[in-house]
Amino acid sequence: MNAIFAQYGFLIVAIVKVILLVLIVLTADAYLTWLERKVIGHIQARWGPYRVGPHGLLQPLADGIKFILKEDPLPEGVDKKAYFFAPFLTLMLALTSLAVIPFGPDITVFGYRTNFGIADINISLLALFAITALSVYGIALAGWGSNNKYSLLGGLRSSAQMISYELAMTLSVVGVLLIAGTLSLKEIVEQQANGNLGLLGWNIIGFSKDHAGLTQIIGCFCFFMAAIAETNRVPFDLPEAESELVAGYHTEYASMKFAMFFIGEYTAMITVSCLSTILFFGGWLSPFPASWTLTHYVPSLILVPLGLWVFFDGIRYETIFGRIVLPGIGSVLTLLGLGLFAAPAINELIQGPFWFFVKVFAVLFFYIWMRGTLPRFRYDQLMDFGWKILLPVSIANVVLTSAFILWRMQG
């Protein structure tokens, strides 16, 4: 057994990680739709999903069953190759892009040291950009292959939008790359831990050891705006603008094929949130300096009240299901929080992933918040914003950052 593991260990671990990640991400996507509907509902003074399960928690499951059972008609005159290939391509690329994201520092499980994420490569940032660069084909092909003018317009808009905003997105991270001096996402995070300053060392504030005061807040703004446009979300969701184009590029898709676009879009959102967390918000680093060991109990301090709240909220629930499930989840969370007090080794292990999750959740919430707040851009405004504001500003950020680094090196 050990001999086999020594020889094929890398392969076995990689496969297990891939399966785990896909399962987790698909579940996260499902509950992201729930969160989005819930948050937007509350922004608009509605309840959001409330009927299926306690707090509508089973709504994603119901949606999933609906997607599988719906009829999947094939419209007339479609280009079959493009029509069938497009949703697969979208989903495939969206899931692949998560492979290079490091979710935490390297961990050692049963004496086997491995990176927290699927692939740890030298040029993970470039690899990620390469995958995003290809993802436009899914949308363009869907729009073109559907034999529908609204779809075609959606596909066209999407291609133009992605070409325009990819430039700004790539240039906006150059500042971070100049500071970090590496293309590896893992090393970019590790570099932000320099100087033991916690939150102040993150690239968005920039008091790390080497480049005091070199903030990347402009880069962060440009990156996030361009990334929203790349993922086709409000206020840049022109490829699927429902008031103008019915549903844009996926008008002619139904059932699972539509679900694939949907999952692809939400996975892309998660990837972008992970990437902005890594580049600008310190990745898996805690906002407190590493020497403040007491702050390692923050996960427990959040988990225990959360668990208790879920427990008591569930008891008040009227249906039998709600009464059993919510208190069950609540007790598990509470016990988990208490268990972390008792087992410091495990507590150390979950620090990285915990903070990573918290930050990604915050970015995702911001995403949804924007959708609930901002109206959609007009098409010419979109192009003006991309070419006349984002691109020059991100180039200026590169020049400023380089000048500052040069000045620091001489002074």
């Binding site: 470039l126 390469a130 660069a133 363009a140 092909l141 293309l183």
Partner: protein, 166 residues
């Protein structure tokens, strides 16, 4: 057969297949997609030779930006199926032999020089991007800057051409 060689043959086969399909497809979009396949296979081949940066840039620039523009223009013009015409006499009697001759010359040149070509990097050894950039900005800085100047000229030329109509 080593794994690297196997991957090489798969990627090279895909590249050739894509190139042939590019010519044989009757619809411009399908041709463009075949060209994307060629670009991606080439990126894989670069990676196999240890050039990680070149591989990523190949996908970002050619697979992403350039080909998206191709697809965009084809979709914008809404180009339909091309009609297949008969081979012209000139193509049959002059074109095919000339193409075969050209292929033979290239194959012979490669076969002859394969002895002195430097071997690709040994298993999994990658050229670090840092080394590549150092070389690019020290030893080859003048050609590099000249190329960027050339690109600038091309961009300005494109803008002038587009502006001429109004």
């Amino acid at each position: 057969m080593s794994a690297a060689l196997l991957i090489f043959f798969v990627l090279a086969g895909l590249a050739v297949l894509g190139a042939v399909a590019l010519i044989l497809q009757s619809h411009p979009i399908h041709s463009a997609l075949s060209l994307i396949l060629v670009m991606l296979s080439l990126a894989g081949l670069y990676l196999l030779m240890g050039a990680e940066f070149v591989a990523a840039v190949q996908i970002i620039v050619y697979g992403g930006a350039v080909m998206v523009l191709f697809v965009f223009v084809i979709m914008l013009l809404n180009a339909g199926e091309e009609e297949r015409t008969n081979f012209s006499k000139l193509a049959t009697f002059a074109g095919v032999p000339l193409a075969l001759a050209l292929g033979g010359v290239i194959a012979a040149a490669i076969a002859r020089s394969s002895g002195h070509l430097p071997a690709p990097a040994a298993n999994g050894a990658l050229t670090p991007t840092r080394e590549l950039s150092k070389l690019l900005f020290s030893e080859f800085v003048y050609p590099f800057e000249l190329t960027s100047f050339l690109i600038l000229v091309a961009i300005i030329g494109a803008i002038v051409l587009a502006q001429r109509e109004n």
